[in-house]
Amino acid sequence: MSPMQNSYLTQSGTRRGLLAWVLSTDHKRIGLLYLVSVLSFYTVGVLLGLLMRLELLTPGKTIVQASTYNAFFTLHGVIMIFLFVIPAIPAIFGNFFLPILIGAKDVAFPRLNLLSWYFYIGGAILVVTALFAGGGPPDTGWTFYVPYSLRSGTNVSLAVFAAFILGFSSILTGLNFVTTIHRMRAPGMRWMKMPLFVWSLYATAWVQILATPIVGITLLLVILERLFGVGLFDPAKGGDPILFEHLFWIYSHPAVYIMILPAMGIITEIIPVFARRTIFGYKAIAYSSIAIAALGSLVWGHHMFVSGQSYTANVIFSLLTFLVAIPSAIKVFNWVATLYKGAIDTAPPFLFALAFIFLFSIGGLTGLIQGALSVNVYVHDTYFVVGHFHYVMFGGTGFAFFGGLHYWFPKMFGRMYSKGRATVALLILFVGFNMLYFSMFLLGLQGMPRRYYDYLPEFHTGHVVATVGSWVLVAGLILMFANLLHALRKGEKAEDNPWGGKTLEWRIASPPPPENFEEVPVITSGAYDYGAR
């Protein structure tokens, strides 16, 4: 089949070795740069999470002091959110596949694309520096709430500046994608013919462009306040801590959709391919992405129901929060309907998609529970919330990312992994995941507050189950990545179209040639036209 000679992996340019990668403007190489760097930081985030769970195995001190534990959860949050969940799918799979999926040779601004990776690495280096420099690792939580973040003697300014830089990486990626989708589609690739992953990236890109600058400015203001005491947020100087919460969540809630929309996009690609039939409700899925991005920008106040925000604001934010659930529900129903009368192949990417639907549904439905005002007063800032967002961010985005990795792996590297081992890894992951995070719902309902180093004896059982779950989960992760790493070197050669997909990436060689297409493709059929075979 595809000769390995002329692929983007082996192409010979003017530069050699590592330089041929870190100076490449090829969207596929940049995608791989992101893959390696994002997964490295993911590993660090997972290790921090494991250490947190280990500390919580017993009440009181298990392995570290309170201040160290507080640094653990801060860095776990910062790394997982800014270095893993936000960039993972757009920066890796978006970069790699967006141009191919619309029949283009590259993104609109290849150099800007490389620059965004350097911003990412620059931000990441700052995060790592914040760990070791002078004041010690930041201990504010990833939310950097004032006034504590103004008083803490730890490296808060550095960590905040890192998040600021990472924001630029995200904005540039978004800009690039919007322009690429508008300007670079192949002839015949009308909007309603685009693969739905592209639609989801499009909606995401707008949120990245519009919302990220707000958090950028907010974080700069925190630095100004720390250095010069300008008195914007510090109540001691007449500032308003609630203002910070508003500014922070105006970005950070939409950021949740930056994290979940591309994940939904991947699931929408996987399901029709393995059901070998057309997607059910193409337009409903495409428009619901836009609806989520738009409505999702108006619900940030649901993080502040007990902050002292006005009664009227609370009522409005609660109502809007319930409404934003509807487009997500529409997607889930359309995915399930796509299985109806399909010809289903239960290969690993498909099983990851099923796991995603189940876990994401739990995440979304528990979001409804917290959206109700009276219940929110009870569960806000408890483990219930921690369970909820791990179901959405890890069970949702994480599992979709793994699903995408297994779906596109043969295309990206031209080799196939062991499907049996991948399935076993998924099962272990699934069991560990639910042990770890479902216990958190129960702990939260019992009244266990979050960000607690120590806890009362009645919470012990829940914490033990969660910690054991974290070990099972990590065992699954290790098996999954070991299987893929093994396949990189020893895997069988993959076919050009191992799953029988209809989107454009499956029409080119595995791994893709440097320029993607020998000639510009002309699109005559939809992305999911399994009828016209």
Binding site: P241, A325, A337, K341, I344, D345, G371, L373, Q446, R451
Partner: protein
Amino acid sequence: MFPDAASTFASPVDGAFLFITAICVFMLALITFLMVFFTIKYRRTRHPESENIEGNLLLEIVWTVIPTILVTAMFYYGWIGYREMVNVPEDAITVQATGRMWSWLFEYENGRKSDTLHVPVNRPVWIKLVSVDVLHSFYVPAFRIKKDVVPGVDNSLWFQPDEIGSYDIFCAEYCGTGHSAMLSKVDVMPEKDFQAWLEGAGAPAPLSGKELLKAKGCRGCHSLNGPSLVGPSFRGIFGRREKVMTGGREQEVVIDEAYLRRSMLEPAADVVVGFPPIMPSQKGVLSEEELVAIIEYLKTL
């Protein structure tokens, strides 16, 4: 699953929770069942020829409209329960709760102060929330209430306990190293006992130095047995030589009564080298008798 229910808010909160959860469980079961059922029924080995159904407008409308009705009902249930939490009854007893890193202090209108909250059963209580430093959050799971304690902002909450007993108070908003040690108790007492307590009868003997260290949250940062936590350990503190930073200059001091007193009232004045200058002042928190009791106790360690 829930902890004790001891206030009038428990039933609307738990009711709304159960209503929403019941719908959610049903939805999840439906989605999961269909997903698994279709996957088994239409697996490729059994059902090799798929049908390309592109969509169905009626279905799209149905599964948009029904969820909209359901979530509106959920919103409504949450809202009516919450409405009660906002309207403070006129006859409520007022208590001021002050949060500081990392302890609570409750003050009654007659001047009575206490580290634990005491309230009469079946009477509304209005808690005014004051923070002297960073964000905290006043949380009593058994009462199903919570509100952030924000410096410079007049937050408050109310509740009406309906079960006699002792319940946990947590700080629910992260506030630094001692966050998880910022605990207290609320004692719900019969009306008569409460009045007696409020008048000072049956007031417990003043706390010993050892008890004070615990009640005021000192031990979140200072160990009694040697290891350094956020601050230096109390073991052997009296008479110890310590390098301290005084106004940006390093000097060596011998820890005596005057130093201990100053460290509690003006903690930023001489900070032991190697530790962050984060200790909150105890001015107005500790009475003169309590200061003396603590210093006397520290001498024995």
